[in-house]
């Protein structure tokens, strides 16, 4: 398990993805599941970096990655209480030419991960996303 604090800035997105990728690799998490996790990690971190703090604030995010038979990634920030999972789902029935550009990030998190949970506790916004190994992966 790895836990570290990182400034909630979009410029740190690559570093966050690399940290998670390294931890998945170190624990031999199935390669075919890693892209979905990394996509969800980017979406979660970018959301926090964009909305958790005021632009002039250098707020932090605590990133925690715990990998065994499932990959559990937790983001904790100390910004205003905000549940990103409560946002409206994008309307995907609209013709492409009329489609809004944006709004897919949380939709990706919810659909690419097995679990996505938010809680506000003790002044902390805590977003936890989880990907389970498949039964077949566990048997290898």
């Amino acid at each position: 398990m790895v836990t570290l604090n990182i400034i909630a800035n979009i410029n740190n997105t690559g570093e966050v993805m690399d940290i998670v990728d390294s931890e998945l690799d170190r624990n031999d998490f199935p390669v075919d599941l890693r892209p979905e996790i990394l996509i969800a990690v980017e979406e979660a971190f970018v959301n926090i970096a964009s909305y958790a703090y005021k632009p002039e604030e250098d707020g932090y995010v605590e990133l925690s990655v715990d990998v065994d038979e499932k990959a559990v990634i937790r983001f904790t920030d100390w910004g205003e209480p905000f549940n990103p999972l409560e946002g409206n789902a994008p309307d995907l029935n609209v013709p492409i030419m009329e489609r809004e550009i944006g709004g897919l990030g949380i939709h990706f998190i919810k659909n690419l991960m097995d679990e996505a949970n938010y809680e506000y506790s003790g002044g902390n916004n805590i977003l936890t996303i989880t990907k389970n190994m498949t039964k077949k992966d566990r048997e290898i």
Binding site: G14, M17, E36, E42, I96, G102
Partner: protein, 102 residues
Amino acid sequence: MSELTMDRVETNEGIKFNVTGRITTVNENFFGKKLSDALEEGFTHIVLNMREVTIMTSIGIRIILKTYKSCMEAGGKFQIEDPSEVVKNVLGLSALQQMMVG
């Protein structure tokens, strides 16, 4: 680990990019500029070969959607050729399967 390459090939119909690597927030400017440059040069038929794309997040979809609209408004065409499993997955989640060919 965030490298993105876009080899550019001009064809009889328009322009094709062979894209490899990750399309993320880290390299959104690079990805977006390659496509906007092609549009500014007058190409309205754009093909992205995405067989070697290993990750694409929503920022990639955002840029693709914007480019698709520009091509269509100009009477052209925008297609994604030979998408990797990851690309198929995110295009499917975005209900943009109709952009895919091959």
